[in-house]
């Protein structure tokens, strides 16, 4: 039986997993693009991003371009945690193969 405690609970939630996946594909994403891609409400997205930020997985940058813009990026810790989470998922799938 697989030890579920190995799965990172911060990432192991649909919304947060989506955010971490997208952040892993580019140096940074702005709020509107994340919202459009994940089809999450503003409130949900803010809550998940806050959780990931508090866990040290996501860095937040606020800038004043033509209008105020907030962008999000994976931290080193976040990238490592995401890679670790992927490795655990792969182990689970492999272990379950006959």
């Amino acid at each position: 039986m697989f030890d579920l405690s190995k799965l990172d609970k911060t990432i192991h939630e649909k919304g947060r997993l989506g955010i971490m996946t997208l952040l892993a594909t580019r140096p940074s994403w702005n709020f509107q693009d994340l919202k459009a891609e994940l089809k999450l409400s503003d409130g949900n997205l803010v809550t998940h991003l806050r959780t990931l930020h508090q866990g040290g997985y996501v860095a937040i940058t606020k800038e004043m371009l033509d209008r105020p813009q907030t962008s999000y990026a994976l931290t080193k810790k976040g990238r490592k945690a995401f890679q670790g989470y992927l490795a655990v998922l792969e182990q689970i799938v492999k272990a379950a193969r006959p």
Binding site: L4, I92, V93
Partner: protein, 212 residues
């Protein structure tokens, strides 16, 4: 949900999100609009300024120069729009997507350059439209692993048109020069305008299924 199914489902979600996020549009909709209008303008200019029924007219030089200018302007526009889009995504212009697209498109575009030089040297410029269509089609289709659907459809339209236009030279009653001018306007002009309309950025790109 059992842990194995849950793990598989999560891996599927990750894969599909990553694939969507790494889609690269090598021809922006804005550049297609400008390029399409330039191509139509080029065709109209050639149509009005060359007496296509006159047998001893100068055709090769004006045709090559006009389409050379259209190509350079359209390429510069595309580069400028891609640069803007890359800045929006906070990526360098020569991102991994751009490099992948250039590598995929380079062989067929080089073929296009080779055949263009060959046709100009042999005074067979009139054969260039189908060759350009086919080379452009193959270059677009070479990006199909990471291109949005609309760009792949554009590639197929050019490929089919390239084949059909070769037949058209045998069947149509128009002179070969007139047909070359019409084909350029209809395909490089018309197809790019249609593509621009279909691929024009929406407010919510995820809703079009054709993002980003």
């Amino acid at each position: 949900m059992p842990i194995k199914e849950e793990a598989e489902e999560n891996l599927r979600v990750i894969r599909s999100l990553m694939e969507r996020a790494t889609i690269y549009r090598a021809v922006s909709a804005e550049a297609a609009l400008v390029g399409g209008l330039l191509a139509i303008a080029g065709s109209v200019f050639l149509g009005f300024n060359l007496d296509l029924e006159e047998p001893h007219r100068q055709f090769d030089s004006p045709f090559t120069i006009i389409w050379g200018v259209v190509l350079i302007l359209a390429a510069l526009c595309n580069l400028s729009f891609l640069k803007r889009a890359a800045a929006h995504r906070r990526e360098a212009l020569f991102s991994s997507g751009m490099k992948l697209a250039l590598l995929a498109m380079a062989p067929s575009l080089l073929c296009g350059v080779f055949f263009t030089v060959l046709a100009v040297c042999n005074q067979a410029v009139v054969l260039l439209p189908p060759i350009w269509m086919l080379c452009y089609a193959v270059s677009l289709l070479a990006t199909s692993h990471f291109a949005p659907r609309s760009l792949i459809r554009l590639g197929w339209c050019f490929l089919i048109s390239g084949f059909v236009s070769i037949m058209a030279f045998r069947v149509m009653q128009l002179s070969a020069d007139a047909l070359a001018v019409v084909l350029m306007g209809a395909t490089f002009g018309g197809f790019h305008l249609i593509y621009a309309v279909c691929a024009w950025p929406r407010r919510n790109p995820a809703e079009t299924g054709d993002a980003p």
